[in-house]
């Protein structure tokens, strides 16, 4: 029976690999008392003022569709936010579309630019949805592997090697999920001439931009010649602790945003109205909450990364997001083995690095979006685990 039904599923869909994160979720959620470092979302609840604005929008009867691109008021607020925070200039009228999470923005961007067979370079280890999103849009994902020696940044040499005649675009995400890597203005400038020379588009997923700790975030679209070829993706999930509100946005040059808007209009109509009202409040009054959360992430990062290095799991200092990406190569285990045993023996959930693509094997992703008490306990347990397995080796 299963077989028969299977035949109706499209080739594209049946060939999609299930996410490795899903597998780990299934394992971990069957157990009790798990300390989870496997969570890719803030441990803070949405700031109260934002929730209030959500209630208020319901009370005021804002329960209908908004404009396809989203509330004008919110687009204007995003436009000035991007200008104040990141020195970017995007028109609220024609260059911003509100989406159902950054996730939908990614999907839309690929659908808007990919013709069958176009190659899209994906920086890996990277967010799990990128490559499948390229495939679903009919493109071919090509992985650009980064490594710990380069602090998981994109370098000229590595980029050069993967560009072909069919390359249409490159997708970046800095600060990165899962590595926490960031790229500075100089480091970005080092690769932009290649991008121009090969006439590539850039999809820049900057959803963690606000969570940059040691330097200020610099968007690639600020570099001369880049604005006209950059699609910038962001959202409210991470910085404003609003993952469940499902609200993101995409900005870029008018022609591309126009194409994106068409697809959005036929597939999604508009982003959730209540969430848009919440987001408006987040931009207007959320700064203090954001700063408070960011300070706390930075403190926990400092603690966790140091702890990993001390227990012999070498870990570069991530400049942003809320993930540490330590190497587990010294234990001789694969990342799957390590994560599975750690979960079974010590009840700590982490995500094996290989699920994030090329270069991820040999690492685990540990989210520090969890209380300092839980982190202390997790560190204690991981330490025990590493010691126990070192003795056996």
């Amino acid at each position: 029976m299963r077989q028969v039904k299977q035949k109706y599923v499209s080739k594209t869909a049946s060939q999609l690999k299930p996410s490795g994160i899903r597998k780990f979720f299934d394992l971990a959620s069957q157990m009790d008392n798990v300390i989870s470092l496997g969570v890719g979302e803030p441990d803070f609840v949405t700031p109260w003022n934002v929730c209030e604005a959500g209630y208020a929008s319901l009370e005021s009867g804002y329960t209908a569709y908004t404009a396809n691109a989203g509330l004008m008021e919110l687009r204007e607020e995003i436009s000035s936010y991007l200008s104040e925070q990141f020195s970017l200039s995007y028109s609220a009228q024609s260059e911003i579309v509100l989406t159902v999470g950054a996730s939908q923005a990614i999907d839309l961007a690929f659908r808007a630019i990919i013709d069958p067979g176009d190659e899209v370079i994906i920086v890996e280890p990277g967010f799990v949805a990128y490559a499948p999103a390229v495939t679903l849009a009919g493109g071919v994902p090509v992985s650009l592997e980064t490594s710990a020696e380069d602090e998981f940044k994109v370098t000229r040499d590595r980029l050069k090697k993967v560009i072909t005649k069919r390359t249409k675009a490159i997708l970046f995400c800095f600060p990165s999920n899962p590595t926490g890597a960031t790229m500075s203005e100089e480091e970005l400038k080092d690769i932009t001439d290649l991008i121009e020379k090969h006439d590539l588009l850039v999809l820049s997923d900057e959803i963690y931009a606000e969570l940059t700790y040691d330097q200020t975030h610099y968007s690639i679209s600020r570099i001369e010649g880049m604005r006209e070829r950059t699609i910038l993706i962001s959202g409210f999930s991470k910085a404003f602790a609003m993952t469940g509100w499902r609200l993101g946005y995409v900005t870029g040059p008018e022609e591309i945003i126009g194409a994106i808007l068409k697809i959005h209009q036929y597939t999604m109509m508009c982003a959730p109205t209540i969430a848009q009202h919440g987001a408006l409040e987040a931009l207007r009054s959320g700064r203090a909450d954001l700063d408070r959360m960011k300070r706390s992430y930075r403190q926990r990062r400092n603690y966790l990364v140091k702890a990993f290095n001390q227990m012999g799991l070498s870990c570069h200092m991530p400049g942003g997001a809320f993930y540490a990406f330590p190497s587990i190569q010294s234990t001789g285990m694969t990342s799957d083995e390590f994560a599975e045993k750690l979960l079974q023996e010590e009840r700590v959930a982490v995500v094996p690095g290989h699920v994030f693509g090329a270069g991820g094997e040999g690492y685990i992703r540990c989210s520090y979006a969890t209380s300092i008490e839980s982190l202390q306990e997790a560190v204690k347990r991981i330490e025990q685990f590493v010691e126990r397995h070192a003795e056996k080796a």
């Binding site: 994160i21 969570v39 890719g40 979302e41 441990d43 400092n302 603690y303 202390q376």
Partner: protein, 164 residues
């Protein structure tokens, strides 16, 4: 006061039990440095004490009542309200004293074992002070939030265990 010291104060205000080794890593200084800084903050009376917020409603065996009293006083030449405030805050049953603007002058929070005890304090100790003109006592019925801490059953982490 440098940035690290402010950061240390913020962390300790939220969680006074964080071990020194962890605190040191969090603000990225050595353990010796953090210990020195905390000690100096204590000596400067910037850190006054490390306290716990207890929800006594949930702790069986200890009942008590609390009241907030609006006090009108006549300020004294030279010392203003300070002298009478001191007379009041020295009483051990007094938990807090604030100088207020508006309809009255001092807000006095007191705690006692029984309502009788509180009433006795107000009528015999507080009202009889020379400068006290009048008092209005409000008994506290339930604490919802105190010093930034919400008094409700512990919030569980509602996130799924592993997510992208």
């Amino acid at each position: 006061m440098n940035e690290k010291e402010v950061e240390i104060l913020e962390i300790l205000e939220e969680n006074a039990r964080v071990p020194m080794e962890v605190l040191a890593d969090m603000v990225d200084v050595t353990v010796e440095e953090v210990e020195r800084m905390v000690k100096s903050l204590e000596e400067q009376n910037i850190i006054l004490s490390y306290s716990s917020v207890i929800n006594w409603d949930k702790a069986a065996g200890k009942d008590g009542v609390a009241a907030m009293i609006d006090v009108k006083v006549t300020p004294k030449r030279e010392v203003g309200f300070d002298e009478v405030a001191e007379r009041i805050y020295r009483f051990p049953e007094v938990k807090a004293v604030y100088l207020m603007s508006g309809a009255f002058d001092l807000s006095v929070q007191i705690e006692g074992k029984t309502m009788r005890e509180v009433a006795f304090f107000v009528s015999n100790k507080l009202s009889t002070l020379d400068s006290v003109l009048s008092t209005t006592t409000h008994f506290l019925l339930k604490k919802y939030k105190h010093d930034g801490i919400i008094f409700e059953p512990e919030q569980k982490d509602k996130r799924i265990v592993v997510s992208p």
